[in-house]
């Protein structure tokens, strides 16, 4: 049975797009405060897996539980199940391409969720947003529009936007992959600080050095399965299988 203390637990998770079976029976438990790194070749199902955790993709087999409650793909949950509305308030997601709202200022982007979804008073939401902007080093950009920010700044705003919902888990899908190399560091620094504060995270990444640094556990995905799983030390520094070793060798520069 599922470990009751897991924030998210996944059993027998499968996902097919038509005939294409992308996830083939995934089991995992995400513990509070844990940073789970997910690595693997392109097309191995990393994004699909992480998107199943907040029901951006609806699984075609198996189940996802959040704090022991089964997750449904309906907005409102019934009979003990948790709906996507509540789930996504508690499980934040940061995208590779930021997806900031271009018609809103940085401050508007961050307060949209708290004011519209959580019905927080505007003043309170803005104070919290300013605090978060300070944490990601962008307090001076509150009034700017996304179009005037660099990629690294956009991604830091996107992280602040997720944090504004005070999530219990943060899902990050290759959040530095769309950035110019010189902007990657500023975003990783923010994630690193989040990890230090004990934020529970699932981190799909190609930054192997970074994963080795912040992840408490690493999954290596291949062909829709978890091919290997273990501590960051084990997976990234002492890979045993040939497949994993050859995958990692591509990132050693």
């Amino acid at each position: 049975m599922t470990t009751t203390s897991a924030v998210i637990s996944v059993r027998g998770l499968g996902k097919s797009f038509g005939k294409l079976e992308v996830l083939k029976g995934i089991d995992l438990d995400l513990m509070p405060g844990e940073v789970m790194g997910v690595i693997g070749p392109s097309g191995s199902g990393k994004s699909t897996l992480i998107r199943c955790l907040n029901m951006m993709e609806v699984p075609t087999a198996g189940e996802v539980r959040f704090q022991g409650r089964p997750v449904t793909h309906k907005f409102r949950g019934r009979g003990g199940a948790i709906g996507t509305g509540e789930l996504r308030r508690k499980v934040g997601m940061v995208f590779q391409h930021f997806n900031l709202f271009p018609h809103l200022t940085v401050l508007g982007n961050i307060t949209a969720g708290p004011t519209k979804v959580l019905a927080e008073p505007r003043a309170e939401a803005e104070a919290h947003a300013m605090d978060l902007l300070g944490q990601v080093g962008l307090a001076d950009k509150a009034k700017a529009y996304p179009a005037h920010l660099s990629g690294g700044q956009k991604q830091r705003v996107a992280i602040a936007r997720s944090l504004a919902m005070r999530p219990e888990v943060l899902l990050l899908d290759e959040v530095t992959s769309a950035l110019d190399p010189e902007l990657v560091g500023e975003v990783l620094a923010v994630i690193r600080r989040l990890a230090d504060t004990g934020m529970t995270m699932v981190l799909v990444t190609h930054e192997m050095g970074f994963a080795a640094d912040v992840a408490s556990r690493v999954l290596f995905m291949e062909g829709g399965r978890i091919a290997e799983e273990g501590s960051a030390e084990q997976i990234l520094r002492n890979p045993t299988s040939e497949r994993l070793r050859s995958f990692l060798s591509r990132f050693h520069s």
């Binding site: 907040n54 996504r88 391409h97 997806n99 709202f101 519209k116 919902m165």
Partner: protein, 221 residues
């Protein structure tokens, strides 16, 4: 050939032309307002996941977009009453036809504007717990409206010009009133020239607004 322009005679009936302007304005605004509602409904139906809603909406759109407006107006005024066995006033027939006609174009403008919003926007709003309605209202629509504004204004400009076809069912809009003035003064050249100037005066500001939005949109991309 020398023609003696005589605007004086026509100007004495200028109040009739102004009345025509007023009626033209009323039919334009009225049909645009109803058209927006009809267009929004039809757009919503086209984006629905129910095939029969999409089919109904599609049929309505193609019917109105692929037949001439003049034929529609005449049909609504002369044929529809016979078909239904009731009498329909020219006001009702005219307003209804104009509204449905423009609605069929608005629907596609609205749909294009919504589909042009990056799908990452819906995902990002869903990811912070917004419902479909919230996402539509706070995130998708504000961006979609900006996308569709130039096309919407252009279609509305055409709509004002289309009200002149109401002439065919004797509605007292500007073109009809011009014909009235012509038959009173025997001065068609002056009367229709004046009518053209009045149409131009109503529409030129609108096209400038459309251009302004189009330029601003291109700059923000």
């Amino acid at each position: 050939m020398t023609y003696h322009w005589d605007f004086y005679t026509v100007m004495q009936s200028f109040d009739l032309l102004l009345w025509g302007v007023w009626i033209t304005f009323l039919y334009t605004v009225g049909s645009i307002l109803i058209g927006v509602v009809v267009g929004a409904l039809s757009c919503w139906a086209r984006l629905s996941r129910f095939w029969w809603l999409r089919l109904i909406s599609r049929t309505y759109q193609e019917l109105f977009r692929c037949t001439p407006l003049l034929v529609q107006i005449l049909w609504a005024y002369y044929a529809l009453p016979m078909l239904l066995g009731i009498s329909i006033s020219n006001t009702t027939a005219g307003l209804l036809t104009l509204s449905l006609y423009v609605g069929s174009f608005y629907a596609e403008i609205f749909r294009g504007g919504i589909l042009a919003v990056d799908k990452g926007q819906r995902e990002a709003s869903a990811a912070i717990g917004m419902s479909g309605v919230q996402s539509m209202r706070y995130i998708i629509m504000p961006q979609a409206i900006k996308n569709m504004l130039p096309a919407f204004i252009n279609q509305s400009v055409i709509q004002l010009k289309n009200t002149s076809l109401l002439y065919a069912i004797s509605i007292a809009e500007l073109t009809y009133m011009t014909s009235v003035v012509t038959s009173e003064t025997y001065r068609p050249l002056e009367a229709y020239s004046l009518a053209a100037v009045l149409y131009f005066a109503m529409l030129f500001p609108l096209t400038q607004v459309a251009d302004h939005f189009e330029r601003r949109m291109r700059r923000s991309d």
